[in-house]
Symmetry: C2
Subunit: 146 residues, 2 copies
DNA sequence: GATTAATTGACTAATAAAGTCATGTATTAT
DNA sequence: ATAATACATGACTTTATTAGTCAATTAATC
């Protein structure tokens, strides 16, 4: 039950943008390099975010992309929702009608509880929280090197 | 991020066996029919459980399979572990060394928290809990039909 | 108008999951 | 014994999804 690379790469890309929040446009190429994601793939991941308006973009020289909302207002549940859709571990959780056993199947309840648990974690965390964690980690790295 | 059918079918099959706990061998064919799983597929799902010893089996006429441990002693985390392995949403959670960014990546923490949340749900529930839920549901169904 | 950089669409490759089929082995009943 | 039954195992096929690439387009700046 793995998260898709869309969700993982996309989240990393947004974190990268959050770390450069309010520093003007950032080249997608640079995000790709820093996050070790191929540029062509990243372009496809970022598109829905631009469409959604949480990422701003401008083309051409001195163009680039940037986070269009404050990182503390973007929670991870929303991001993952955009990138991957629902994290229900079984189809029947979101669409009970797709399974004839629905309503008479105890396992469905469990899958529902799992979804809830995942969503709780993701909704309780914002990009800003990630930024702070990330800064702590980078700092530790530097400290340890000395 | 869907659970595999292995995990879902396997859990349903074990719940079926739990509902017939201490009633002697049950035909795999009957489990397959009740749970709407193809017999040949179910045979492959049940094999690791037999190997693990939580399902007993005997071949031949009057043979069958049965739950070899009390349902209240089997928690779902263990079952899913057998059927599908770890529910870590990213490889780096279980094997940090597979990602060069490990230790310097804040997203890894989030995936780790998700895994914990899932495991907490699964480990807090036993097959016996499922049996009770299932019996309530079946009862409701009958009641509503009247 | 040349250059840069995001946008979009079509396409391919890789991987894993799902499922089937055939064969083998153990057990029981007659 | 042997026929019937039912689990066990391995090889294989199919299907679906994800991941990723490539090429062409559009918009902005110098």
């Amino acid at each position: 039950m793995k998260l898709s690379t869309r969700a993982r790469y996309g989240t990393r890309a947004l974190l990268d943008l959050a770390l450069h929040y309010k520093s003007g446009p950032v080249l997608l190429k640079d995000v790709a390099r820093r996050q070790r994601i191929s540029l062509s793939y990243l372009q496809h991941l970022i598109a829905p975010m631009v469409a959604e308006g949480i990422v701003g973009s401008i083309r051409g020289v001195r163009g680039g992309v940037w986070l269009a909302k404050p990182p503390e207002e973007i929670n991870l549940g929303y991001i993952i929702g955009l990138l991957e859709g629902s994290l229900a571990p079984a189809e029947c959780v979101d669409n009970p009608e797709t399974c004839s056993r629905s309503g008479a199947c105890a396992t469905q309840d469990v899958w529902g509880e799992i979804k809830e648990a995942i969503d709780t974690v993701l909704e309780s965390m914002t990009l800003q929280d990630l930024v702070e964690r990330q800064k702590n980690k980078s700092h530790e790295e530097i400290t340890y090197q000395i």
